[in-house]
């Protein structure tokens, strides 16, 4: 009879009997997803709060994407829980000394803020769509559904006068301002979950929440930039093949895209530097103070996990993108390479924290190796294996496609 965690844990030397890698791939995915949520929201707020006009296009995009990611955020948790049907207990009867109990409050607050902000941003569009559809005497089935949905979404607020829209903008600014600390909290508490576990020598540091927030912003901005580029490329292909159907020409799209990407990459660089500095600080500090756990930690960081940490995360995930971003005249192609590497680097950071923290035993005299389940042969190896992670990673794009039908992200098609 195998116990939970036994199938993907290989123990070496002196490990106590109950130790296994209990927090595996889905617990790596969860901070990765919430990090993307926080980062996408912060990017959107750079326009709404700080008024950086050049980021207007990507701001709208990242707000909707943040909402799509939000619904995916609880997925890794539900896949990880041994009793997922009891998940509601965390929301209904939270035990407030636990950092995980904060999930309920923070998640609900953040969802409310993003939903409200989306409503204020798109209210004018809802009203205009309803007016357009109302004018049509013969509606198709799809149009009737659309009419119903959009009428409901207006919540009865049909006033689109200048004053009303000004109020909308004020509300958006207020919500975006309020949302930044909440988004940071959404991911910061995940860092606190790890940083406050005194039993784990690698996780225990007050820097953990800050490291998580910084790398969250990096990953969120990078993902939004990447998806934005992909969508823009698709639109360019459409613009050149079906002339006249879209409002912009291929060159217009290309110009706007390059401008947005160059602007956003400056912010990306700033957060990237901040994130890597904190991680290096933590590492240097541990080596300098050399506590009792330093021997085993050193053997994990500089020995067993050297490639994962220094080559993959720091090298490919931080140093290479840093160099590529700093070089002048950033092209879209170079940006895409950078962004993919950055996202990979942030994922490796989550991996190195979660899996790396369980790579050594509580005895400080033994190791545990993680063998990620690839081909699932039962429900557990699916949930906590490669395909479970892929399911979580791909769902936001599917949700984004659905949400784009209600909250269109780009200039509306010319009517036929």
């Amino acid at each position: 009879m195998l116990v939970h965690g036994e199938i993907w844990t290989i123990k070496e030397l002196f490990v106590t009997p109950n130790e296994y890698i209990y927090w595996s791939l889905q617990i790596v995915m969860y901070p990765f997803m919430t990090g993307l949520v926080a980062g996408a929201f912060v990017l959107s707020s750079l326009y709404h709060v700080f008024g950086i006009k050049q980021l207007k296009e990507i701001a709208r995009f990242s707000l909707v994407f943040s909402f799509a990611l939000l619904f995916v955020a609880p997925m890794p948790l539900l896949l990880h829980l041994q009793q997922p049907q009891r998940n509601i207990l965390v929301l209904m009867t939270p035990h407030f000394t636990s950092a995980i109990a904060a999930f309920g409050i923070v998640f609900m607050t953040y969802a409310a803020i993003v939903a409200s902000e989306l409503w204020f941003v798109y209210r004018k569009y809802f009203v205009e769509t309803v007016a357009l559809l109302r004018g049509k005497p013969e509606k198709t089935f799809a149009e009737r559904i659309r009419y119903r949905i959009f009428s409901a979404l207006t919540l009865g607020a049909y006033d689109v006068s200048h004053e009303a829209l000004q109020k909308d903008e004020k509300a958006v600014k207020g919500l975006a301002t309020l949302g930044i600390p909440v988004a940071c909290f959404l991911h910061g508490y995940a860092g606190f979950i790890f940083g406050s576990v005194k039993a784990n020598a690698l996780w225990m540091t007050p820097l953990m929440p800050v490291i998580f927030i910084m790398s969250a912003v990096v990953s969120g901005v990078a993902l939004c930039m990447l998806t934005y580029i992909v969508v823009m490329e698709i639109r360019k292909i459409h613009a050149s093949s079906v002339v006249g159907r879209y409002v912009e020409t291929r060159d217009q799209i290309k110009g706007a895209e390059l401008n947005e990407i160059r602007m956003t990459s400056k912010y990306l660089l700033f957060f990237l530097i901040f994130a890597i500095s904190l991680e290096l600080l933590d590492l240097i500090f541990r080596g300098y103070t050399a506590l009792k756990n330093w021997d085993i930690l050193r053997s994990v960081i500089y020995g067993r996990d050297f490639v994962n940490i220094f080559i993959l995360q720091y090298g490919l995930g931080n140093l290479v993108p840093f160099i590529l971003l700093v070089l002048p005249r950033l092209t879209i192609r170079r940006a895409v390479v950078c962004l993919v590497l950055i996202l990979f680097g942030v994922f490796m950071m989550r991996w190195n924290v979660v899996i790396g923290g369980q790579a050594f035993s509580l005895t400080f005299a033994g190791y545990m190796d993680y063998r990620m389940p690839i081909i699932p042969h039962d429900f557990e190896t699916f949930k906590e294996g490669l395909f479970g992670a892929l399911l979580v990673a791909l769902t936001p794009f599917f949700l984004f496609w659905i949400l784009d039908k209600i909250f269109p992200v780009f200039a509306v098609k010319k009517s036929d």
Binding site: H4, E12, P17, Y22, L77, I100, F103, S196, T363
Partner: protein
């Protein structure tokens, strides 16, 4: 003749008036007061392990698995015994094959992955066995981190788990510095040693204390100054595991060594 209205008024006053003392009998039920059992303020369970007496037979592990229905062939256990061998060159070798469920059947140290370390008797400086179990800490980190409050501490000090409330997140398992918690392979919720709570609250001893033929394990009441375990803790040189974590463990050890983790 009393009117209907007055009758009703008096009846209501009478019922309301009577319900207070009747309810009080419920609140201060003598049966419930007597039935408080070992949770009365007066018991704080404490455990004493004498590593000088432990020979690593593993009968305690077998007894625990049987008594608490932890599947015999599952590689988890509520209690286990570790073997330490310190060689003359200052190296420490330690293992715990299947938690010492079957004892230590070979003098070779199990290094995992099929490797074994053979140590010549002449090279051994000292060697001993260390039984371990849940410390029922006074400041339990597992209770602190449970997101739903499924694990909690009784007034008598034992930390329990509500199997019907645990969501199986594993935070308590990660939060325990001693590695005593695990996921039950059948119930799929967190599990750990609970000092055989179903036995001690009836005046019996824990399964492991009963099973140990050498008296290496003892359980007592820290609040009773005449308890033999309490007397040893108060007068002898005792130690606890990992005091630096601030958990205030309530399992005391005689014969602690610097090499014991």
């Amino acid at each position: 003749m009393i009117t209907r209205r007055n009758f009703l008024k008096r009846a209501i006053k009478g019922v309301a008036g009577l319900s207070l003392p009747i309810a009080a009998i419920g609140i201060l039920s003598p049966k419930r007061l007597l039935g408080a059992g070992s949770d009365k303020l007066g018991v704080r369970w404490v455990f004493l392990v004498n590593t000088y007496k432990c020979v690593g037979c593993g009968l305690c592990v077998k007894a625990c698995k049987t008594e608490n229905e932890i599947p015999y062939d599952a590689n988890v256990t509520r209690t286990w015994v570790e073997r330490y061998v310190i060689t003359k060159d200052g190296k420490r070798w330690a293992d715990t094959p299947k938690g010492a469920r079957d004892g230590f059947t070979t003098s070779k140290i199990d290094l995992g992955l099929g490797h074994f370390k053979e140590i010549k008797a002449d090279d051994i400086e000292k060697a001993f066995f260390v039984p371990k179990l849940c410390n029922q800490c006074d400041n339990p980190p597992c209770v602190q981190v449970c997101p739903v409050g499924a694990t909690y501490q009784t007034k008598s000090g034992v930390v329990l788990i509500d199997r019907k409330w645990c969501i199986g997140c594993g935070y308590c398992v990660m939060g325990c510095p001693y590695g005593v918690r695990f996921f039950h392979p059948i119930y799929h919720v967190a599990d750990k040693c609970n000092f055989c709570y179903h036995r001690i609250s009836k005046g019996l001893k824990t399964a492991c204390v009963e099973a140990c033929p050498f008296g290496a394990r003892q359980i007592g009441n820290l609040r009773d100054p005449n308890d033999p375990v309490t007397k040893i803790i108060m007068t002898e040189r005792v130690s606890v595991l990992k005091p630096e974590y601030g958990t205030n463990p309530q399992v005391y050890y005689l014969g602690m060594d610097e090499f014991i983790i």
